[in-house]
Amino acid sequence: MYAVETNDLTKRYSKKAYALKNLDFTIDENEVMVLLGPNGSGKTTLLLILATVLKPTSGHAEVMGLDVSAHPTHVRRLLGISFQEARGFWRHKPADILRFHANVCGVPKEKRDTLIDNLLKDLELWDARNKLFMHLSGGQAKRLEVAKVFVHRPKFAIFDEPTSQVDLRGKRKIWAQILRLREEGSTILVATNEVREAEFLADRVTVLDEGKKVVCDSVRHLKDSITGGDVVELEIDTPDVQTIEQVLSRIEGTVKISNSGENRFKAHVSMAESWVPKMTDVCYRNKANIVSIRVTEPSLDDVFLHFTGRALREDTG
């Protein structure tokens, strides 16, 4: 059984405005699934449907075997969601907000206060614990928003852009907390348009674009699936540059090779990890010395560009 499964899921906000179109999507138990896509791709809509905040127009969605439309209250007992925008109880203090959330979600009283104190310290909210929510900075409010899920520690945790507005140190702390949650057995769904976040957290990535699933696989497989996505920059000491260039271009996996200087080559290859050993073998047989080598793998930005034909951030507003 999947932890999360959607079949033919569609959400329409008006006759022509589709947020999700016939989405089939699964998350395995205890997996970190990252939804990657530009703004307006349907990430938030999918999260809100799974969290039972929005209702699907058609199709079917299940969380831990429970239909989100038929058993919303049961589903809500299993999940926790950190929303994209940290808005809420303006005249409350962070510690009170977390205590309230813990109480409503049934966190045992004996664990609650220690858990909250530790989280406030870890997420660097301790000094702000008695400030009113309306006086928190954007980053503090966002950290408080994700802290709700960490207090609750649900079986299914949903994060919508969990580190937007948060500084790098804060990001690392939030990522560590998310991975700790996974270690404890939670299934995790993260929506983001930050490539680094996706690469750091994901067991698998689902690329969404215009409400449709474009591709879903592990980060490694997605990168490997780009033909010529790896770039190998080489400096080779050889008297016969032309021969070496011809030999390198015949290696299996070479998509394009160019001579970028006297003895410098730039090769676009598929799966550099198997291409490089073949290249060293070829160089050895042709009595060419490798002076330097640098391998750059494609980013998830490149993956997105490859599968959708456009850049991940081009319409980010």
Binding site: V53, L54, I81, F83, R87, G88, F89, V104, G106
Partner: protein, 254 residues
Amino acid sequence: MSNIIRLVWFDLKPELKPPVWIIMEWAVFLVQVGVYGAIISQIVDITGLDYRQFFAVGLVIMITFSMASHTGRHFVEHAHEGRLPYLLSLPISRSQLFLTIALQGGTELALMLSVPLTVTLLILGNLSLVSVVACVLALFWLGFGVAGLMLGFSFIAFKSSDLYTAIVTGLSAIIIRFSTVLYPFIVLPSEYATAAAFSPLTYGADLVRSILGFDPKFLLNPYYAAAVLAALAVSTLGLGLVLVQRLVEGVKSA
């Protein structure tokens, strides 16, 4: 049930620390009864009617209306300030959420009415447990009806908050002015009286005044008024509950 009480208390607590707005409302009521009520009762002369007493009850009805409208608006604020998606994601059912809104509105109404109702009963020389309980019940029926009405309108706010504000402001003005809150039915011009028959405040005001022993010739039949209020409360709250259960969705944060 414990989650409902937690949510009500959590939302209400900041408003009571300190309860400035409640004290201000009480002060405004006391000034209105003490100063404006004294003046207007010299101007308005209706044979057989102590207009100051009539006016004091009218103010209590207006406070009830204002608080009940506030409950509807509070729901809209939940949506527009981003709390609604959060509330909808908590492990409580939509019906419990609706009950929470109603309970919070009821608590605020009870707090807000405590002083004005006591003062009004003192002015009328009718401060007793029976009159307090009967008045509170009648006012709550009225409050439920108005809150349900405003909750119904709150769904307009999901499309356009400006339109909602315009409709509610306009409707509030009409509902208060075209009613028997400030003047008895029998002295109203016929067109005005026809319009007043459609205002829920007419039935609330006349029912409370009947309970408090005002001359029946100035009032609608109390059984009729009670039936209209009950029908209004049941229908609008029922409609609100159905809307919350079936239609309400958190405003998608963009």
